[in-house]
Symmetry: C2
Subunit: 126 residues, 2 copies
Amino acid sequence: MKKKLTPNMENYLETVFVLQREHGHAHVRDIAKTIRIKMPSVTEALRKLKKSNLVNYDRYNSITLTQRGKSISQKVMKRHKILFKFLHEVLGIDKNIAEEDACKIEHVISYKSLRRLNKFVESSLI
Amino acid sequence: MKKKLTPNMENYLETVFVLQREHGHAHVRDIAKTIRIKMPSVTEALRKLKKSNLVNYDRYNSITLTQRGKSISQKVMKRHKILFKFLHEVLGIDKNIAEEDACKIEHVISYKSLRRLNKFVESSLI
DNA sequence: AAAATAAGTTAGGTTTACCTAAGTTTAAAA
DNA sequence: TTTTAAACTTAGGTAAACCTAACTTATTTT
């Protein structure tokens, strides 16, 4: 039943999370702008996410995460943070590039590598 | 003119590189087995790679890389090695997982992060 | 060399993730 | 309140990456 999300879907979810945290809810427009994608693609993605019970979405209305959606996007955010911290604070990569790279790596790296990386980052920054 | 390759295409190329190094050339069968994908998908990919002048490929024959193909796959291999070294030797991740993760990250990480990572790995292992 | 097997290809189909152009709904201005 | 503009959706199309089933070519075996 719980099919694994694609990188793209994880990204949509993450974006909604951030927008919701800032404004209480997300709009198609803002999601589109954030991911640099056209609105129809967002609409399409939202329909899928709704079908999987990850977002509350009704056409022409604003968007929020369901409980499940929230819990998944928080996990993705955690991954993101660890990677960003490593890239930026340990390796010293510029914020922008560290952000971008984290955003891509977070969807493909294994749980084990991520855990090790986390420990590594924490012990490096004492 | 030089369109950026997709992660998948980079992977096909890398696979041909490895097989060619071991046996002088690659076969559809072996590529399929290595990437764990069915043969028709390999045939399709090879046609595209041929169109971009990256492999020497004629139906029913064995496959080799062109000069361009070789040079690209060597770059990908370099990325792979750096990532693997970091994951396995620095973080201490199991070979198999380190391989897998490297194989995914190598297609998405930026040049800058990779260079820093490389320096970092080299200085860590003295 | 004929038959059997393995390797490779073709045809046609699916899903994901985009897009543009055109139409609809909602919100804001006049 | 009518008009205009912005936000959103629908329809229809494309490209990448896969697949299965059926066919073809090449290689072995007998």
